[in-house]
Symmetry: C2
Subunit: 200 residues, 2 copies
């Protein structure tokens, strides 16, 4: 950004431009918008950001975001405590919740195995999962990782780790997305969908 | 947003979703990113926003953004004080500056005439412009408004207002954008470009 605007505005633009999906152009547009709206609204945004980093921490048990020690699922007596669904991150957890098809607990890995990025089993909370199995009455571990290369690798590793435990390990199904024309499905998805065919 | 995340996170999502170009999905993605990065970076963003609304005000003379009473152009002894370029808003001013083709002063309207939105000559700093002409040694007023319906209407109104003053009124040229194939130019642009043809 050229030095057309005051320094404080440039500081905001630089901070906004670091966010994913925002370049300098859109960061400038946002900053000008923030200056144009009533002062109170921009202050509310700023204060909510400060409160966010101050108050949100990870649930002691499942590593979902929480305001206290435990997240709302771990605190909820209605959730089925014999099931743990493994998700990559809180956004994936949110997607699963929106489906309204799962009523058990979660375990948030906060990443997938990626030796190149230094993400090993300890970094992504797999050890913490195994510790949970020692203490909790778990009957089923549902692996809900994306069927990507890293997701598949992490799932395979999890299956190995879970072998010594007397727990049922399941995985969300891969197949043709609802509403999709199978003529446009990729080979691998179609292969998976055929292999996982279900009796009607 | 469903109540999957802590309240403080939802508050941030709601605040972000009010920004232009951000829906709830991208606001959620941003909020999760902000939670995932080091605490200090989100705090820096928040503090920069607070500083922004605290410190930035409008230049007393030209209504550009300023940190003190005057903006950097009005303070700059190198700028040609006999020229005033009329722009719609600070973003337009920034675009003009980036062209490096103008070295005079500015006057920022902060809007275009729009009776429907209650924007009359007083709201958009036209009166303040006429007052400037009484006090300042202005020789040329360069109207740099976009050739849109509202921009054209505002420009026409300005020309009327400026008639009683002994000042040269000019307007940035309309024509074919550099690099554009004239076969794809719209009729009106082409008509303007023909009318404004220049001798070589």
């Amino acid at each position: 950004m050229s030095k057309v605007f005051p320094k404080v505005l440039e500081r905001v633009v630089q901070n906004l431009a670091r966010l994913p999906g925002l370049g300098e152009k859109s960061a400038t547009r946002l900053a000008l918008f923030l200056l144009g709206q009533p002062k109170e609204e921009t202050q509310e945004l700023a204060h909510s950001l400060l409160e966010l980093v101050e108050k949100v921490r990870l649930c002691k048990r499942c590593f979902n975001f929480a305001e206290g020690e435990w997240c709302r699922f771990c605190l909820d007596p209605e959730r089925n405590k014999s099931q743990i669904c493994i998700v990559e991150d809180p956004a994936a957890l949110s997607a699963i919740e929106e489906s309204k098809a799962y009523k058990g607990l979660y375990h948030v890995l906060h990443g997938l195995l990626s030796p190149r990025d230094g993400l090993g089993p300890r970094e992504i909370k797999i050890e913490a999962l195994l510790e949970r199995l020692e203490r909790e009455p778990v009957e089923e571990i549902l692996i809900a990782l994306s069927p990507t290369v890293a997701g598949e690798a992490t799932a395979a590793y999890l299956v190995e780790c879970l072998k010594p435990y007397s727990v049922k390990v399941t995985r969300i199904a891969c197949g043709i997305p609802m509403g999709m024309d199978i003529r446009y499905a990729d080979q691998l998805t179609l292969k998976r969908a055929l292999e996982a065919r279900q009796r009607l």
